[in-house]
């Protein structure tokens, strides 16, 4: 089943300078009761975003109108904890296409890649430069170029390259997914099963 192709993104960014953001914060368990993939964006960062009366908390970044864009920039160890893919769905559903951090939890990284959400891992130094730039000027533009594996701070042209395995890169750029790939090698899988017994 093809997904949207990932194209180069130029956008302002939403900064979330909090470390160890776990998947329970991204989407609390009580919102996991749905049986479809849609609509999780509404409850993204629910308990940080809304108070007990469901009123937006003015001090949380997503409620601050001066920040917007398709890129979420987070501090280190993003997405730790539960394997819930709902975390990646929620971020994507909210409208983000890229999450930038200096360190990602393994399962989150896989889940993001499987849903057209690009995790961009960069150095602590470049991360703090981005935080500084966005803080000074919330309209600061970032460019994420998947083909050349680069993230660029457009205000001064500073850039850093990021890693992604070539298979996943191709999938994202072409909108393929892993299941298509696996279904295509079903013969090999059956062969493997036979060789084992």
């Amino acid at each position: 089943m093809s997904k949207d192709k990932f194209v180069t993104i130029e956008s302002s960014a939403v900064p979330l300078p909090i470390e160890n953001v776990d998947t329970d914060q991204i989407i609390p368990a009580r919102f996991l009761k749905a049986t479809t993939r849609e609509g999780f964006g509404e409850n993204l960062f629910r308990d940080w975003r809304f108070d007990k009366k469901d009123q937006p908390k003015p001090d949380f970044i997503l409620n601050n109108d001066i920040y917007s864009g398709e890129i979420l920039v987070a501090a280190k160890n993003f997405g730790s904890g539960s394997s819930r893919e709902h975390a990646a769905w929620a971020i994507h559903d909210y409208g983000f296409k890229v999450v930038v951090s200096s360190f990602f939890a393994d399962i989150f990284k896989n889940n993001a890649l499987n849903n057209g959400l690009l995790p961009v891992q960069i150095s602590e130094i470049f991360l703090s430069k981005i935080f500084d730039a966005v803080e000074k000027d919330p309209s600061t533009q970032l460019k994420v170029d998947l083909e050349n594996q680069e993230i660029i701070l457009l205000s001064n042209g500073e850039k850093e390259s990021f890693e992604i395995n070539s298979y996943k890169k191709e999938c994202l750029m072409n909108g393929y997914d892993d299941i298509d790939y696996l279904l295509n090698i079903k013969d090999k899988i059956e062969q493997f099963e036979q060789n084992r017994v």
Partner: protein, 467 residues
């Protein structure tokens, strides 16, 4: 050629294919599913117009979202009921074995797998739940996956997976009295931090690990994921084989003897090299407890919350944010803090041995008046055994009440929520903000420590009350 690690042996034996510059195609022996992370995967394969490839290799049970009282009645919460019904429907449609709520084999996925002998040494196992690492205690490669990967397994019995690096953690020596498997793993995570294991698959070894029961080993492997690791494992040995004997789905008779011969080969070669290796001394480990909002923020129960100058500069913001949430001050004593709730349960510590340990401790004692104590067995079989062994009676006499099996307050998807602002000592695995209910505060500890807290109403080092 250098020898192979246990992890490599199992992984390599399951590689169907390698993608250049990409992940491996890994064959999965056993797939466990539950109601929360599977519906979208079933919808996915139906959208593709395909059926489940090997339905006999998947086993299902509802656990995350189920009530822990009145399980014989229809589930009250409409969304939960819908999710559980959806699982039943999907399993029926695709010919997958389901242990529904009323089935004597039902319970938390990671409790029933080992208990029924579904989990076996040398297997690859996955489940849409990060604590799938639990099954590694049997010398299997077991890890949590996301829903897209659940769909891959349903469709092809394989997933695409980059191979993790290997780490070995050796714990040598003898544990002192009152120190349990939970304390070992909380100690390790406190040392390596909540992200120190990221990118690795951990093998636990050493005499202190070998001395643990299967239940204890499961607790250690269960929480390996809380260090960020992909999973944890322990080589199978006599303790493992003894545990496997006579289990419902374990090989029987001659088949069992043959299996043991095969399982005995499952160990790391002497000359194998790990990407990282750590050594700890069992004598340094004491009863542990967490004070913050990730499982790496743990200390000895008998010590204080660290002072700011003991925290690395780069972690200071996390530390301050966590203390603010918990309502604690840097440098505070931990012992003596008043507690409101005690939760004994979850796939970390909801097995029969855990309930036994709590019952042993509270026998002839009473819970403190300020404590609400929930004891939630990990499965129907654990519940039954607790009744048969008289554990239920002992706990009730002490003022505790046993609820029915499920994940319960471990993730608070059902009604078992710790109220806002209340402090809970929990035998589960995560102390994230709001994990046990919005605004709830969680301190993770062993069942023994939790039992001691329940009877005194305050944080206490359980060793001071051991006879």
């Amino acid at each position: 050629m250098a020898g192979k690690t246990l992890f490599d042996k199992i992984w390599d034996a399951h590689v169907v294919d390698e993608i250049k510059g990409g992940p491996s195609v890994l064959y999965i022996d056993k797939h466990l599913i539950h109601e929360v992370t599977s519906p979208q995967a079933f919808a996915g394969i139906e959208n593709r117009g395909i059926s489940v490839f090997r339905p006999q290799n998947t086993v299902a049970t509802p656990d995350h979202n189920v009530p822990t009282i009145d399980q014989h009645l229809p589930i009250k919460d409409q969304l939960s009921r819908f999710q559980v019904n959806k699982l039943t429907e999907n399993c029926e449609k695709h010919g997958i074995t389901l242990y529904g709520l009323s089935h004597p084999f039902s319970g938390i996925v990671h409790v029933i797998g080992p208990q029924l002998g579904i989990t076996q040494p040398g297997m690859t196992m996955v489940c849409g739940d990060s604590h799938t690492s639990t099954h590694g205690a049997f010398g299997s490669v077991a890890f949590g996956i996301g829903t897209s990967e659940v769909e891959m397994v349903l469709a092809t019995q394989c997933i695409l997976q980059p191979k993790p690096k290997r780490m070995r953690i050796n714990v040598e020596g003898t544990l002192s009295k009152g120190v349990t498997a939970k304390d070992i793993i909380l100690y390790i995570i406190a040392k390596i931090t909540a992200s120190g294991g990221t990118g690795y698959f951990i093998e636990f070894a050493g005499s202190a690990i070998r001395s643990l029961s299967m239940e204890g080993r499961m607790t250690v492997c269960n929480m390996s994921i809380e260090s960020g690791a992909r999973g944890g494992m322990i080589a199978p040995d006599e303790t493992t084989f003894e545990y496997m004997k006579g289990r419902e789905f374990a090989p029987k008779g001659e088949g069992f003897d043959a299996a043991i011969e095969k399982w005995k080969q499952l160990k790391t070669d002497e000359d194998a090299v790990f990407d990282a290796e750590l050594n700890y001394d069992a004598a340094d480990i004491a009863p542990m407890i967490t004070y913050g909002t990730n499982p790496g923020m743990g200390v000895k129960v008998s010590s204080n919350i660290p002072n700011e100058n003991e925290i690395e500069q780069s972690n200071l913001a996390t530390f301050q944010k966590a203390l603010k949430y918990m309502g604690f001050e840097a440098g505070d004593d931990i012992i003596g803090k008043e507690v409101d709730y005690v939760f004994v349960g979850s796939c970390t510590n909801g097995r029969i041995e855990d309930l036994r340990e709590v019952a042993n401790f509270v026998k002839g004692r009473k819970k403190a008046d300020n404590i609400t104590a929930w004891i939630v067995p990990g499965s129907k079989q654990v519940e039954k055994q607790a009744n048969e062994e008289g554990i239920t009676e002992i706990l009730e006499a002490a003022g505790f009440k046993l609820r029915q099996p499920g994940c319960s307050a471990c993730l608070a998807m059902n009604d078992d929520k710790i109220p806002e602002g209340k402090l809970a000592v929990s035998t589960s695995n995560r102390n994230f903000e709001g994990r046990q209910g919005p605004g709830a505060k969680t301190m993770l500890a062993s069942p023994l420590t939790a039992a001691a807290v329940a009877v005194t109403g305050k944080i206490i080092d359980p060793r001071t009350l051991l006879k």
